[in-house]
């Protein structure tokens, strides 16, 4: 014993043995793990605790933010001037496109009205700042500073100035959790800009490039192709830049081509993001006709 003992000697009752306690708490955690992964019963508990922890997290962030502000305040004049010149140049080069945009939008609206098609993207968007990236090394997540109070809802798409970053998956009162494109099995419906081929891009986890699965080897796709959202899932508005194809491997003997892509957006580094407004509700999927009414071809053949 290293200190003056003030407790009774160990032969007095000390509660259940450590092993018994470990068994009890171990089983309890396993039960919790099961309950959380299977049924998601515990979302409300998480919500409540997140509210309590929010001020603490913001307070912890203050020193770093202040430091960043001070350093940026003292950033050299020349760097700012350079930046300014570059931005002017960019503005000028994009001017024709921007001026044309207004016209195009009006024209588009008229045409859509003619076609009686609902607007697929309402254009309401919330700018948000990244608070910090998730600590969990198994998932690819970000936390942003806009939440329920700013009208953010789960399922909204998140983009930066280049392309899609991810999707809002959990909303807390003052912040929201964004799951990135690179998160394992995060799916984005995409189409190839050049050929119009539709597919779904799946994230592969930290440090690995997302890939397109189940594309037959003869499909029209090549390295360097740009992938845009196809908008058929009702989550991502169509036409947003997503990724660029890095490699296409077509091996004889494989049923599917192996297509890896690189996200265009600074998925893990952009500090400012835009949370796009909810996509207008897509029409309900039509009911599958009951099998007894119209037997499918395959079944029919078996029976016949």
């Amino acid at each position: 014993m290293r200190h003056i003992s003030v407790e009774p000697p160990p032969f007095f009752h000390r509660g259940p043995s450590p092993l018994a306690r470990l068994a009890f708490f171990g089983l309890l955690s396993l039960a919790l793990l099961f309950a959380d992964t299977r049924y998601r019963y515990l979302e409300s508990v998480r919500h409540a605790v997140a509210v309590v922890l929010y001020p603490v997290q913001r307070a912890l962030q203050l020193p770093g933010e202040t430091l960043a502000q001070i350093t940026s305040y003292f950033s050299s004049q020349s760097a700012l001037a350079e930046d300014n010149a570059a931005l002017r140049q960019q503005l000028l080069s994009e001017a024709p496109a921007v001026q044309g945009y207004q016209l195009l939008q009006q024209e588009n609206a008229r045409l859509r009205a003619l076609l009686n098609v609902e607007k697929h993207f309402q254009g309401a968007a919330t700018a948000a700042e990244v608070l910090y990236s998730g600590r969990d090394p198994f998932t690819q997540k970000l936390f942003v500073d806009k939440g329920e109070s700013a009208g953010v809802q789960p399922g909204q798409a998140v983009i930066d100035e280049v392309g899609v970053v991810g999707q809002v998956t959990r909303v807390f009162p003052y912040m929201a959790e964004v799951t990135l494109l690179t998160d394992k099995d995060h799916a984005v419906p995409v189409k190839v800009e050049r050929s119009g081929v539709r597919s779904v891009m799946y994230g592969a986890g930290s440090g690995r490039l997302p890939e397109l699965r189940f594309l037959s080897p003869n499909v029209e796709i090549q390295a360097g192709d740009k992938l845009l959202t196809s908008g058929i899932d009702g989550t991502y508005p169509s036409g947003l830049a997503v990724a660029q194809v890095v490699s296409v491997e077509r091996e004889t003997g494989q049923i599917f081509a192996r297509v890896t892509c690189k996200p265009l957006a600074g998925v893990e580094k952009s500090p400012h993001l835009l949370i796009l407004g909810p996509v207008a509700a897509t029409p309900q999927r039509p009911e599958e006709p009951a099998e007894s009414d119209t037997p499918r071809k395959g079944r029919g053949r078996h029976r016949g």
Binding site: R2, H3, P18, R46, Q57, L60, R135, D136, R170
Partner: protein, 175 residues
């Protein structure tokens, strides 16, 4: 080998610990884990709470043990937005391992203690890994093991800091 101060070997009788100090350090450990960082710093960031918890489980097993560790793990699960029970399980096992090995760990000088702590922290991290991989998560890169190793390197510092209030007042003793 230079003579390390009394932290290295239990030659000195320490004063009894104050429970509020234990709680305070545990809360500070939790706050340390909540510091928002990203990039390389995130990879280097050790699990401060596990480190402080391990220290108290080794030094004061009657005050802090499996139950307390489990509760703190639950708080950590919420703060991290991970699966409920993942840290709770890991911390409970860590606390039990600490209680089991504490007499052996305490016999060694601080740097050798750190080596044993590294094993305990890596074991704790491996348990989290096991839970997540069984749940379908991808296996992370090798940098996953950096955090626990940094934690082990911090062990001597943590020991010296946390033992400070318990050291006998030398001046009074000499007078």
């Amino acid at each position: 080998m230079p003579h390390l101060p009394s932290f290295a070997r239990p030659e000195e009788i320490l004063l009894p610990v104050k429970p509020w100090f234990v709680m305070l350090t545990l809360i500070l450990g939790l706050l340390g884990n909540l510091i928002p960082v990203s990039g390389v710093t995130l990879r280097l960031q050790p699990d401060f709470l596990a480190l402080v918890l391990l220290y108290w489980c080794i030094q004061e097993p009657r005050l802090i043990s499996v139950g307390m560790a489990w509760c703190l793990g639950l708080v950590m699960d919420v703060a991290d937005a991970t699966i409920f029970g993942q840290h709770a399980l890991a911390y409970a096992v860590l606390a039990y391992a600490a209680e089991y090995f504490r007499r052996r760990v305490l016999r060694f000088p601080l740097w050798q203690q750190a080596a044993q702590v590294a094993v305990l922290l890596l074991f704790c991290a491996a348990l989290v890994l096991l839970v997540r991989v069984v749940g379908g998560a991808p296996i992370p890169r090798w940098t996953y093991a950096v955090g626990p190793l940094v934690g082990a390197l911090l062990w001597p510092v943590v020991t010296i800091l946390l033992q400070w209030p318990q050291r006998p007042r030398r001046s009074q003793a000499e007078v």
